[in-house]
């Protein structure tokens, strides 16, 4: 089985600390793969390595059979990989509408964009996505004044505006209300019919509702992989992760 995204024997060290230790992963087209694992397992670092924010110490990442290891952020984005950050990163000084417009990246050439004012299709797509993520009423206000949940939505909307072949979503429902989470589940289940998605998530309840495949990371390497049912049965996973997760839930 060949994946759209293939990670082979990835290593990443920050100075002396090894954060990713021979991690390999194959993501099949049109599936939603959840990346779970305890704090500090290296999930965000993996997303950083795929999206070009960090360069691997060694290892190879291929996307649609092209080696993208070491490419810069914008080159990777142009190949159809869109990402959302763990700490929502939107343009706080810009309006919600402008945030979505910037994300509509059909044309990335600086020179051509000097002579472009209203790109084709942007306005229509913007209306659709704004409605999708429930921000239609908020288009005119500055993104910095949105609530935390709304900011999460906006960033998801920005990823959608890019229309990427692959979405990397780092903790998309953190800080969302139950209702907002339901909506995210609905959107993701619809999206995975046409896109390949990796979701990093702590909340096993949420994972259960969206995941086709679950990958468990522990200390920078793969601990287990399979369907949600397999994972929940797995003794090692329970030990390093699910046990602590239950504790966390009881605290909430």
């Amino acid at each position: 089985m060949v994946g759209v995204l293939e990670i082979k024997d990835l290593h990443k060290s920050f100075d002396a600390t090894k954060v990713i230790n021979g991690f390999s992963l194959a993501v099949t087209e049109m599936t939603l793969q959840c990346l779970v694992g305890p704090n500090g397992a290296g999930k965000t670092t993996t997303i950083d390595l795929i999206s070009g924010r960090q360069k691997p110490t060694s290892g190879e990442i291929t996307f649609r059979e092209e080696n993208i290891t070491g490419l810069s952020e914008h080159e990777i984005a142009r190949r159809g990989i869109g990402r959302k950050f763990q700490v929502p990163a939107v343009f706080r000084e810009l309006t919600v509408r402008q945030n979505l417009e910037v994300a509509y990246n059909r044309e990335t050439s600086a020179v051509r964009n000097m002579f472009s004012f209203k790109p084709d299709g942007c306005a229509k797509r913007l209306e659709e996505i704004a409605a999708d993520v429930g921000l239609t009423e908020r288009l005119g206000i500055k993104a910095g004044t949105l609530s935390h949940g709304e900011t999460q939505w906006l960033e998801i909307g920005m990823v959608l505006m890019q229309d990427p072949a692959m979405l990397l979503l780092d903790e998309p429902v953190a800080g969302m209300t139950e209702h907002e989470m339901d909506k995210t589940v609905e959107i993701l289940n619809r999206l995975k019919k046409t896109n390949t998605i990796i979701v990093v998530e702590h909340d096993m309840g949420f994972v259960r509702r969206i995941a086709d495949v679950v990958t468990v990371m522990h200390m920078g390497s793969l601990l287990a992989q399979g369907s949600i049912a397999d994972i929940e049965k797995d003794e090692r996973v329970r030990e390093v992760y699910l046990g602590t997760e239950d504790d966390e839930e009881s605290v909430h």
């Binding site: 999206s51 142009r78 945030n99 000097m114 004012f117 004044t145 609530s147």
Partner: protein, 370 residues
């Protein structure tokens, strides 16, 4: 800050029209040639403030060395004007070169025999310089104060270079072309209203071009990267190219200003590369309001106007006053006078909006949260 009347695009263009119409009236009601020449020089300062506002206020790139483009543009124009007064057969070499012991025209002066070519070089050389220097810096992700310091360093190096290359540049004495610029029979006499009109037209042109640039998609992306350049990369935009182009566009405007300065004063010297002068450009933009192209221009007019009012005797204390107002503005009024106008307009239009929503009943849904 919420959007208000100040942000209405149509109204903004209207304000531009009124502003430039007012500037256009001046030569019609005034016939003092000396004063008109002075006012045209203000147009040059306006262009420089505009260029800073584009680069710094809009693009977020603090540039303390805008004198690089200004000086190179001014020298290019002065060299063109100088060569217009030379004759290939009888006097092929400018007198100052003879005094400096040269007996042939240096190769870099040759292109300036041709007026069109000379003016083109006056604009292209600084712009290409900005493209290369900016490209190298931004590619290496040099930003903020580090970039500002690099521009300062280059500026000082250029000043030294132009002083040291005495035989080619006449050193500290500079170049003073003996005749006015003549473009194919169209003479731009610095003491006639023609020169005012030329500067005025170029100021309008650069302002409109800069304004359009800020309203284009390019402008939107620059705004985004001013806000968070890291995030923009993940949307597929090559940030270094965007930054380089904003920087170079501002350089081109400063080069145009340099050209105007040269034909208005018929004199250029390494003073155009003076660090203090480049810093005062930043002060004009800050006082007027760096986030607004128009207010930056107004800032240049006001500060330079005030400076000429206090006169040369008090120049030293003037610089102190200027530095002090700069600190006050940065601390208490970061938007400058334009920011003040924005706040005031905001108060006016908010009052109107609440009245409207009262009469209409249901207005916009209340903004919730913070």
């Amino acid at each position: 800050m919420e959007k208000n009347l100040y942000h209405n695009r149509l109204l903004q263009w209207l304000v531009y029209v009124v502003f430039f119409a007012a500037l256009a009236v001046i030569p019609l009601v005034m016939d003092d040639a000396f004063l008109l020449n002075q006012l045209a020089t203000y147009g040059v300062y306006g262009m420089l403030a505009l260029s800073i506002s584009l680069c710094w206020g809009f693009g977020g790139i603090l540039n303390l060395g805008q004198g690089i483009a200004f000086g190179l543009g001014a020298y290019g124009m002065a060299m063109t004007m100088q060569m217009q007064t030379q004759d290939p057969e009888y006097s092929p070499i400018p007198p100052f070169m003879l005094n400096n012991g040269l007996d042939a025209l240096p190769a870099i002066w040759e292109p300036f025999w041709n007026t069109g070519f000379g003016i083109a070089l006056a604009l292209i050389v600084p712009t290409v310089f900005y493209l290369i220097f900016g490209g190298l810096m931004f590619q290496a992700r040099v930003a903020g104060p580090f970039f500002a310091i690099m521009t300062l360093a280059i500026l000082s190096a250029l000043a030294t270079l132009f002083v040291d290359l005495q035989p080619y540049t006449n050193g500290v004495n500079g170049i003073s072309p003996p005749a006015a610029l003549d473009i194919g029979g169209f003479v731009i006499d610095p003491y006639m209203s023609t020169s005012y009109w030329v500067v005025f037209a170029l100021l309008v042109l650069s302002t409109v071009a800069a304004k359009l640039l800020t309203q284009s998609r390019f402008g939107l992306i620059v705004q985004a990267l001013h806000n968070d350049s890291e995030r923009v990369r993940f949307l597929g935009y090559n940030v270094a190219i965007y930054e380089t182009l904003v920087y170079a566009a501002s350089g081109l405007i400063a080069a145009i200003a340099g050209c105007c300065f040269a034909f208005l004063t018929q004199y250029v010297s390494p003073a155009q590369f003076d660090v203090g002068f480049s810093i005062s450009m930043v002060i004009w933009a800050a006082i007027g309001g760096r986030n607004s192209l128009l207010w930056a221009i107004i800032g240049a007019f006001l500060v330079q106007g005030a400076q000429s009012y206090v006169g040369d005797e008090f120049l030293n204390s003037w610089i102190l006053i200027l530095g002090f107002s700069f600190i006050l503005i940065v601390r208490f009024l970061p938007g400058g006078l334009g920011g003040l106008a924005e706040t005031l307009l905001g108060m006016v239009s908010r009052k109107r909006e609440t009245q409207e929503s009262l009469t209409v009943g249901a207005g916009e849904p209340e903004t919730r949260g913070a």
